[in-house]
Amino acid sequence: MSNVPSDLKYTKSHEWVRDEGDGIVTVGITDHAQELLGDLVFVELPEVGASLDAGGDCAVVESVKAASDVYAPVGGEVLEINEELVDAPETINSDAYGDGWMFKLKLSDAGELGALLGAEAYAEHAENDDH
């Protein structure tokens, strides 16, 4: 079973969210997602300053196998993107929850965090989703 840290929140579409406090969150894709995709070779990130709606597609990750949309887990403004990924998309394969983070958001509605999955619920979802 892939790694699902207990201090993060998750979506059914395999993004993770870390609450950094002060209404700021960091977003990436889960270890399970990178495992399903295989070696990543291309990442397209949102633009800094862009305003994202919860559930909207906002980034693309492409592996040797396929392209996959990344959805904003919560709504907000993009504060920062991980530019290192542009030259080294494989960082997501090696460190999905650390150096493989994708972007930081200023939350527009902190209440949206409550709608995300906890680690246990996500782990169960990921297991059922496996194929």
Partner: protein
Amino acid sequence: MDKKTILNQTHRDMGARMVPFGGWDMPVNYGSQIEEHHAVRRDAGMFDVCHMTVVDLEGDRVREFLRYLLANDVAKLKSPGKALYSCMLTDTGGVIDDLIVYFMSDNWFRMVVNAGTTEKDIAWLEQQAPAFDVRIKPRFDLAMIAVQGPNARLKALPLLPDDVRDAAAALKPFNAASGSWFVGRTGYTGEDGFEIVLPESEAVALWRGLADNGVAPCGLGARDTLRLEAGMNLYGQDMDESVGPLESGLAWTVALDDQRDFIGKSALVAQQAKGGLRRFVALVLDGRGVLRGQQKIFDGEREVGEITSGGFSPTLERSIALARVAGEAGDHLTVDIRGKRLPLIGVKAPFVRNGQACIDL
């Protein structure tokens, strides 16, 4: 329920991620597809190709039969063990399958056909063969393992049976040696290596032995990027029954300019006479992104074709593709990726051979 090769459990034991492919449950990778790709380019890798089918054709008129059945001419095969790549065409010039045929003896030829097309291939062979008194024998009792890479032959030779080892070591490219196993110096990666056909009961031991000799197990993922870099077509993506060899970059495999008649020839001659054939081209994406099958290609504002096979080339660290475009399409093409037009560079295939890039970027 997908079919399983004799190596299925071995793949699982070695940590493979399994996927459905052409009705079979096959390994797509054993961890990193890119590392597997590099293993083949730099050292040695192995592939389970048991899902492909060996078909033996026997009869006194088997050569005459194959000269009529195949678009390439088996008359080119003069010494036993020599191999030929060919398309097998419909009456209307579409590709039923692409295959390798080996000349074994005057009354015995051997074919290796694709997994997903096996059933229709055999049906077609059985329909055509009686007129030539040729017997068709699918060899579902045989396993096949491809060992590919610059060190592949060295690592595989010690594992071959005594009755074929010396002959295998002496093989020239595109030739096969036969003993208790059948060993061809052929492959689908653009590297040196062997394709080994052996009894199913001995396949697991060979696979384990190769792994012990430092041959990396490789999945279908690496097989696809390797063949794409080598500029080799994949049946079902680059050509099928709706598209002929002349529009699939396979004109070099069709022997049209002689007296020989073969199935599909009149259709190809008519296509050539009519003109306006689409071109099959090799492309590199100029910039970041990944080319994929079915992406549309444009010349200015006009759509002129689409990518048939695309992907990321681990050797070039660029995205590459094979595509079919209108005959009159220009040299400055673009591709639509998620609504954006990105420039393409036309190159001459192959992209990579024997570990070396063949194109200047």
